[in-house]
Amino acid sequence: MTAPVPLVSGKETPAALRRMRTPTGRRLGEWLPTWALITTKHLELRKRRGLMTALAVLILALPVLLLGFRLLFHLIDPTKYGPAGSPSIFGGVSNVLAEFGFIAAATLGAAAGTTDLSDGMFRHLVITGRSRLSLYLARIPAGLAIILPVVAVAFTMLCLVTSYEGVPGPGNPAINEMFKIGLWLVLDVGIGFLTGLGLGALTGQRTVTLVLLIALEIIVTPILAAHAIPYFLDGQRLVVGIALDQLRPAGLAAGSLAGGGGPGAAAPGHVLFGGRGVLGIPPMPTWAMICVIVGWAVGWSGIGAWRMVTRDA
């Protein structure tokens, strides 16, 4: 520590030195995150072993186990157990992937929204002069770049099993239907991440955020979706899980493991994705479901960014 080491090599030209020492205020103040900011945040999240293990278990391990056991059972007793690539298995695993994918994404979002604060790094980051909004926005691509590939791997695996281990027939999902379901999963997981990120940044506490979002996903949404509450239907539709469910592709709406089967269940597709939900409340207009979904994404991002900008570091 005693031997000084120059921070510049000594070979720089005067112009280069001047450029290196020139205050970079305007650039730092820009709200768009830089590539370096995104990749380093990605690194920070990726290096959390516990979190990555939780994501792998929630998103990858469940389909692998479900499909693996089904393949095994079908091999042992093909008459009693159908092939692992049957439409019902495909629908069921996709719905499980949606449920757990949302929770996993919310977990990752909550971590992305809170760890700088809880680890004491937020202060260092603010002192760099970098715009706080830019710091917040960098978390979005950084987190999505982790969660989306994991979901994509799990869903691709499911599609491959369905394609190669299924039985030819009218019930089998076509490639375009699989593509729609994949996009819907991406949307579901993306909303989960943005909600977790925003709520995490708002509360500053990972555990509280997680408990709230898990409660929303597995308690509040199913209850509100199962029954139409008189005079409160529009309020129920403001819950993102219900709007997402209404957008659920037709291939998942029928024969789902998630159950439901109310008046709106398995209705013929006539909107963007066509599923109209597996849950039990009347359909909502396309514009309304899009507004609710976009509102949640933008709203929670706005709230999280606002809190990050105004929070004491």
Binding site: V5, T40, E44, H124, I127, G129
Partner: protein, 290 residues
């Protein structure tokens, strides 16, 4: 208005030692970590928070205990901060780690770092921006004597490079050893500031311990000559309090008079007032009615 300005030399170090006055709050507000209710501020002449990014591009700071992502290595933590700084900061990671003596442990997780290593990593983070001004809030906290020595040496080295280092600390002894100038901030006002030597000398006369053959006669001689503010017998010697503002020539004059009167002088030792004495004399007056 609070104005803490560098001294005559660019390498002047600063300190705001008065407790319970919110010096950390002042630093946090300047750095944009917390919001000011009202008023205006400038940092290195740049108005903040209006041009915070411009000002902070020239500043490095450690506020409170330096904490980092424990699951990342020291180098990775610096990569994060360098990415936030932008510009050439990434190229300064390795030199900063080497300079702070962390090169060998740079790829260890921060969770395994000692407090002293985390402090050094904090300083390394400050150096990523090649700052003109370093603001260190309680940098000696939690350090063992060797760590404090290293930190002091490092601060002196940074000042020697032409950087201004502002140090906020309760440890006045450390401040006196490390800094050239101090400022006391009390309830949002700078009570006193200046070069440490001048402030301490101006705060009241220093004392000289005189070891001589006949202390009683020496005391009478000095009192009659009126060259001291007071004399007192201490053990076998004599303590002479010089008048406020007296310089080293007064000590030579004292010696000449004693020797001229035939009193054998065995030794003269000037006992300078410490920064703590000065601090206490200034802060004790704060409670007095004006």
């Amino acid at each position: 208005m609070v104005s803490i300005v560098p001294g005559q030399h660019q390498d002047t170090a600063r300190e705001c030692p008065r407790p319970v006055v919110g010096k950390t709050t002042l630093i946090r507000t300047l750095l944009g970590l917390t919001r000011a209710d009202s008023g205006s501020m400038s940092l290195l002449g740049v108005p903040v928070p209006a041009q915070r990014a411009t000002a902070l591009a020239r500043v490095g700071a450690i506020v409170d205990e330096p904490r980092f992502h424990p699951h990342l290595t020291g180098r990775e933590n610096l990569r994060l901060l360098a990415a936030a700084r932008g510009g050439e900061a990434a190229t300064r990671i390795a030199p900063s780690l080497k300079r702070l003596g962390l090169a060998d442990r740079a790829d260890d997780k921060v969770a395994a770092y000692s407090m002293g290593m985390r402090q050094r990593l904090g300083v390394a983070a400050c150096l990523l921006g090649d700052p003109e001004l370093l603001i260190l809030d309680e940098p000696m906290n939690g350090l063992d004597p060797a760590g404090m020595h290293d930190m002091r040496t490092m601060i002196e080295g940074l000042a020697a490079e032409g950087r201004t280092v502002m140090l906020s600390s309760h440890l006045l002894d450390e401040v006196e050893r490390t800094c050239e100038a101090v400022a006391i901030v009390d309830h949002g006002q700078v009570i006193s500031q200046g070069e440490i030597g001048e402030l301490v000398r101006g705060a009241g006369g220093s004392t000289v311990l005189v070891d001589c053959a006949d202390p009683d006669r020496a005391a009478r001689l000095i009192d009659e000559a009126g060259i001291a503010a007071g004399t007192a017998r201490t053990g076998a010697g004599l303590t002479v309090t010089l008048p406020a503002g007296a310089d080293r020539e007064a000590v030579a004059d004292l010696n000449r008079r004693l020797v001229g009167a035939g009193i054998a002088v065995y030794g003269l030792a000037e006992a300078q007032k410490s920064l703590e004495d000065w601090f206490l004399s200034v802060t004790s007056r704060l409670g007095e009615p004006s």
